[in-house]
């Protein structure tokens, strides 16, 4: 979509003073896409990084590239910027020749200059670029120009980060600015009945402002700590109608074919067709489950909003400022031109967290107090209790084995939607997906998503095994009406699907009496995957023999079956108190041509750590009175006392296209941890998280 909608060089690269300004709709959410884009321009044009900058991502000026998600940025924005740079390169060389003669072989781009070999003729690249016609189309057929070696780019922003000078949205500070906090209902079914008038008056007397729209309630004022305190005391002054409370459903019991909209999945795409029958007599049969889990961003969501002269100016850490603008404009009855959203970084983002909701809520507060910049922040409790969660999920796998080979495999995925982003759509889908619209006086009903029928989308991402198996039966089961609002989190369904499939491969290898790497190789034809597993095997055989108390688990996956390939081994122990301790992760990845090796390694390592946290620690809990996992004690995550050595090796040919990698390692990590626990203890863990309690229960159940 990127080049199709933005076909001109000037859509992607312009001049800003003496620098090249690179335009993108993709945003840095901790994954360093801007580093990779700068690297692409630097390589293509042989220009020092001091002469290139990334433009602020703002509606109206940035290319609309939808949402920064799905590991698509390098393939969409990266490809567009690369082709725009290649076109600019050709333009610069042609311009130099037109001015000074010679032929193409004589002209070179060197360190920010266009030089004619054998002469002292040297033209500044930025001078030549200034005359670039704004209507020059990008030529996507031009060959890429990739130097043999270029200095590794330093991560943008890190010098500021270690000195506390990097500006996050939470740090914005404008003259006359007010701070604001929400007073959240006890849970999603509650509605605000009444506020005690004395508290109301007391707050007004202290210069605080209360904003109410139905059950949406917030407090604002000039001093942040006063606002924080007021939001708590105002909470005590509210009486709520509990609406029957949250349903105390066993969500896993809801995952049955009877409750589901069912679709067979062929080559990664759901079909409107009858679901084939289950395998009659499988040799292996097991169900794998993941509870609701949260993004749990380190910084609670925030936004800055100002309503001035009938225009709404927003700053947000949303992954998709254009879709968000449409949803907010529609919610407030504004024209698109009346709403401007600028991206400002928040903390690391792993999918659809509270950022979009917070931006809309800041807008509601700002419109009640024109001409006042409002810095609105969710509290830790707000983020834990109200962000859209990754849906709980179950995958039933059945397999038939014959002579050490899987001959038939059935995998049925069950979950609620992974698609809750405020994208526009029929029935005011955008507004219906913004949290506050459920609570305003003019409330919208919670959005019910239609089944996602895209290839490797939603819950069926990586449901298709990558292996050569004669007969497969894959089914998507969409179960709706479950207790919590859900949306996209890193990898979507791929985590549970890979957990299920790779646990099954491990179990099948075990019953065939074949080592797990050879077993997988025997089910593969793709030479790149086989080379990757060979490399993993070599790495492992170079390690000292595994200590007796240690277990090792192997897993492999290719994200969406077309993106980055990751094979890894996890070495771990299980303590006397049934705690899993991670020791070493040996990871081999093939992401095609690597643009920023350190950035890619960081993404793969980060994926391992987040997945280890999902596998070992994380679970959203609730009862009738609300979400009970409301902070980092009641929702534990992995900490520094359980960090393995991660040994990462990048394969990948410079001639292979670059593919997305941000979500490639989590799925195999969860599976390899489960397989290592099996290797270490004999226990086959089927439900995340694999806590000490869960291990003890599994041991008792035998």
């Amino acid at each position: 979509m990127s080049l199709g909608a933005y076909p001109l060089v000037s859509d992607w690269i312009t001049m800003d003073g003496d620098r090249l300004l690179v335009h993108t709709g993709k945003v840095d959410i901790g994954q360093r896409i801007s580093n990779a884009l700068l690297r692409i321009v630097q390589e293509e044009l042989a220009v020092p990084l001091s002469l290139v900058e990334i433009a602020t991502v703002r509606t109206g000026t940035a290319p609309d590239e939808g949402i920064t998600s799905g590991s698509n940025s390098i393939e969409q924005s990266g490809r567009a910027v690369a082709s725009a740079s290649a076109t600019l390169r050709k333009y610069l060389l042609d311009a130099a020749m037109a001015q000074h003669g010679g032929d193409l072989s004589e002209w070179l781009l060197v360190d920010g200059y266009v030089e004619r070999a054998g002469t002292n003729l040297r033209l500044a690249l930025t001078d030549l670029a200034r005359d670039l016609p704004s209507n020059l189309p990008v030529d996507p057929t031009l060959p890429r120009h990739v130097p043999e070696s270029a200095p590794a780019p330093t991560m943008r922003g890190i010098t500021e980060m270690v000195a506390g000078r990097f500006t996050y949205i939470h740090d914005l500070d404008l003259p006359g600015m007010w701070h604001a906090r929400r007073v959240s209902p006890p849970h999603a079914k509650a509605t605000l009945r009444d506020i005690d008038q004395t508290s109301f008056d007391r707050m007004k007397a202290k210069g605080l402002h209360i904003i109410r729209d139905g059950s949406f309630l917030a407090v604002a004022g000039p001093r942040e700590w006063d606002v924080v305190k007021a939001s708590t005391s105002l909470g005590f002054a509210c009486s709520w109608d509990m609406g029957g409370g949250l349903p105390e459903t066993d969500v896993f019991a809801q995952f049955t074919p009877d409750n589901a909209q069912r679709f067979p999945v062929i080559s990664g795409t759901p079909q409107k067709a009858p679901v084939p029958d289950r395998l009659p007599t499988p040799d292996l049969s097991a169900r794998f489950e993941r509870p609701y889990q949260m993004h749990g961003a380190l910084a609670p969501s925030a936004a800055l909003a100002e309503w001035t002269d009938n225009r709404l100016f927003l700053k947000s850490h949303s992954q998709g400022i254009y879709p968000l603008r449409e949803a907010i404009a529609d919610s407030l009855g504004l024209l698109l031109e009346q709403v401007e959203i600028t991206y400002v970084p928040g903390s690391g983002c792993y999918g659809h967290n509270g950022a979009d909701d917070a931006a809309f809520e800041a807008a509601l507060i700002a419109m009640a107090h024109p001409h006042t910049p409002i810095l609105f922040k969710w509290s830790r409790e707000d983020e834990h209790a109200w962000e859209p969660y990754a849906p709980a999920m179950a995958v039933q796998v059945d397999a038939t084995l014959n002579n050490g080979h899987i001959t038939a495999l059935s995998a049925e995925a069950f979950s609620d939607t992974h698609r809750g982003r405020p994208r526009p759509g029929p029935n005011r889908a955008g507004p219906a997906k913004l949290l506050a619209n459920r609570f305003r006086a003019d409330a919208l009903a919670p959005y019910v998503s239609p089944p996602n029928m895209g290839n490797h989308a939603g819950m069926h991402r990586n449901l298709d095994p990558i292996y050569d198996i004669a007969e497969t039966r894959l089914v998507k089961n969409l179960v709706q009406g479950l207790p919590h609002r859900t949306s996209a989190m890193r990898c979507l369904g791929a985590v549970t699907n890979i957990f299920a499939l790779e646990s099954t491969m491990d179990e099948a290898a075990h019953s065939a009496g074949i080592d797990p790497i050879s077993f997988r190789r025997a089910h593969l034809n793709d030479t790149r995957t086989i080379a990757l597993l060979d490399a993993l095997e070599r790495r492992l055989s170079a390690l000292p023999p595994l200590a007796e108390e240690m277990g090792r688990g192997i897993a492999y996956a290719q994200y969406k079956n077309v993106m980055t390939r990751v094979g890894l081994a996890v070495d771990l122990t299980v303590t006397d108190t049934a705690e899993v301790k991670l020791h070493r992760v040996t990871l081999v990845a093939d992401a095609g041509r690597v643009i920023d090796p350190d950035g890619l390694t960081a993404q793969l390592e980060g994926g391992v750590m987040q997945a280890a946290s999902w596998a070992l620690c994380e679970e959203v809990t609730w009862d009738r009175d609300g979400i009970t996992s409301r902070d980092w004690d009641s929702y534990p995550v992995i900490r520094f006392d359980n960090v393995p050595i991660i040994d990462t090796h990048l394969l990948g040919n410079t001639s292979d296209p670059s593919v997305g990698a941000g979500e490639a390692s989590p799925g195999p990590t969860v599976a390899a941890i489960a397989n290592a626990i099996r290797n270490c203890t004999g226990l086959r863990m089927q439900r995340m998280p694999f806590t000490a309690d869960a291990l003890r229960r599994a041991a008792l159940e035998g």
Partner: protein, 157 residues
Amino acid sequence: MGACHAVNLRLKINGIQHDIRSDPDTPLIYVLRDELKLKGTKLGCGLEQCGACAVLVDGKAVLSCVTPVEVFDGQEITTIEGISETEVGKRVQQAFIAQTAAQCGYCTSGLVVAATALLSKSPKPDEATTKAALTPHLCRCGSHPRVLRAIKEAIAE
């Protein structure tokens, strides 16, 4: 609420004496960020559970998001903005840069403060001591292995 119970306090922050008038119950972080505009100290939870808000108080890493400012009256505080003034702090910062020990960076100032406190107290901690000192700190992007490598590098120098 408001300034009705405000008291006078004297805080030495990054080597500079500040006379502050504040409600005594205000957690230190709000004074640092909102009154003194030292935005490098990050609020992650307000519950002393995530470590993003760590500052050095008399050389020790202390969480600033709950404890009232009046407790710090007369004490010497170093925030991330002042950490490069210490020899150890500067070394830790350089090692974090060399190892690219951050992704989003929101946990970084707390981690740099914690690492500086650790290495100031014990210049050559073993791996278990390092991990224990960092365990109050969360990182959600998964830069943990890099942070441990950075601290190793800062020790080796």
